[in-house]
Symmetry: C2
Subunit: 328 residues, 2 copies
């Protein structure tokens, strides 16, 4: 299907591709995201040309520990937003494995019933490739989907690693999904999820212990109250995603948070922060490409032997190579 | 305690510090790792001087999802290695939170009974700071502990993110710890843990369903058998870390894997790979520092406003700034 999309659109000029993306043509969107995954130079050109038609989509990050039910929740939230007449794009970031090829079958099936809807676009992106690279690419893909005119962009990530947290931070509103299992809130604290949550969802809230888990989470949250002016205190919303329960409250809370961001000026600040971060990522990627020429890579290989024989250290090699780079 | 260590050793010259580290003086080791966390230039100098006395320690990565019992296992494995007359250093990488300050109390108490032993050194390192930075620092700390003459260095990490996986990959042998809870093996597959495991531990193996979980994991593992010559097929070892059960088998499996690595030439290859990775990390850190001068940072801030007004894009800014950097 994707290969078909590429074949059918590859004779398009970039301007035609962009114009098709802006008309929300699915094959062209797929092609544009494939460009992002594979071709840096064309991506730069494309995003520059798409820049003027961006900025309307509201970006929501949905993260949390494995098993919290994020895929089901994302899927049900999408249906609810559709019922309200909103268009929705989902970027699902699945840690990949050579023998699963990304998302597991169950998740794919769950996504399929929403992805038949023309007002919905679902794209999986894999965590293969270099560190930090995925978060940049997921943000680029969100820009394409924004330019395509989707009202909401949902990032679904496993919230348990730096690069996944980076994706969540690229959102306007970040939701952390937990389940009532004992210790889940404690684990969330340990893995840095508490700091990025604009609000929490206690999913599978029909399970035993849900009310206690919500109470425990609220207690933990009170430790963070600073009484600063315009302080936003994260709420906890209960859902049973598998039965589509509580989704109205989730949407209400997203809207309440959006209104708060706008009111205190944080909406603009977050978006500037996101662009700043992106320039940093791009500069670092470009410096890396400039530096690691074939010649310099084979130079490194010949020097590594001397590290093993303890004649030099990786610090010395790095230092010498940087010196040589600056005095080209 | 740490402040005391710094105060008492800061008048030492670098050569004295190094000589004390090599005598396994605890305060000097603590000071050396604090240097790594804070001072790039001094770290380079220190590690260069320590290089010749490294390479004897065997490095074991212990990773797995939150709640698998990694801290208890690390602690019990340490006791077992001590009983065999081996010295052990533990580097515990805990995702930090501003209001927990790293490890939770329970973990700290568990570690405390081993850290009173002079043949054991335990150090927590936090995941604050920049992406990828921690894995470089954890490896540097391991070099110090190696030079200090510890027989084993155990890296304990939450194995659910790229930077944590990078730390695990810095080990000679990487162990992935799972528990019999349903779906744990599936989650491990999803988060890329399967690929890095040299063997698995099924911890809490006295729980119901442990044998089925081991069988399921072994089935998944058979999919990966390639029948290549000298193929290493990851084993599954059952433990009940809280009752110190199964640790003998863990040590046996570490030794069996070590022997295999040496036999097939992989031991040396992994260590070269580790140094190559480190040169890459160092070069990138140095390029980043060179690039982001105060002047260039304020230049970026003034240009970001134009991204918000859609006159330019982060791609254009990055491109222009790189051009200016190269034509200094």
């Amino acid at each position: 299907m994707l290969n078909g999309a590429i074949r059918n659109t590859k004779t398009l000029s970039l301007d035609e591709l962009i114009s098709n993306v802006q008309k929300r043509d699915r094959r062209s969107i797929a092609r544009a995201i494939t460009v992002i995954e594979n071709d840096y130079a064309e991506t730069a050109d494309m995003l520059r040309k798409l820049a003027k038609s961006q900025g309307q989509a509201y970006r929501v990050g949905i993260t949390g520990p494995p098993g919290a039910g994020k895929s089901t929740l994302t899927s049900e939230l999408t249906k609810k937003l559709r019922a309200l007449g909103k268009t929705v794009a989902v970027i699902a970031v699945d840690p990949t494995s050579p023998f699963t090829g990304g998302a597991l079958l169950g998740d794919r099936i769950r996504m399929q019933d929403i992805s038949m809807d023309p007002g919905v676009y679902v794209r999986s992106m894999a965590t293969r490739g270099s560190l930090g690279g995925l978060s940049a690419k997921a943000k680029d893909a969100a820009d394409v989907l924004d330019a395509a005119g989707f009202d909401y962009i949902l990032f679904e990530t496993v919230g348990v690693g730096q690069s996944e947290l980076d994706i969540a931070k690229a959102a306007d509103t970040t939701i952390v999904v937990l389940v009532p299992e004992s210790g889940d809130a404690v684990q969330a604290m340990k893995s840095g999820l508490m700091e990025i949550a604009d609000f929490f969802i206690m999913n599978k809230a029909d399970r035993e212990g849900a009310d206690q888990a919500v109470a425990a989470l609220k207690t933990i949250l009170t430790f963070r109250v600073t009484h600063a002016e315009d302080e936003w205190i994260p709420n906890v919303v209960k859902t049973v995603a598998s039965k589509a329960e509580g989704l109205d409250k989730v949407i209400e809370e997203i809207e309440r948070h959006h209104a708060h961001l706008v009111k205190v000026g944080e909406f603009e600040r977050r978006r500037i922060g996101r662009e700043r971060e992106r320039v940093h990522e791009l500069v670092e990627a470009m410096l890396r490409v400039d530096f690691w020429s074939d010649k310099r890579q084979s130079e490194l290989e010949s020097r590594l032997g001397k590290v093993m024989s303890r004649e030099t250290t990786s610090y010395d090699i790095a230092h010498q190579m940087i010196e040589e780079f600056h005095h080209r």
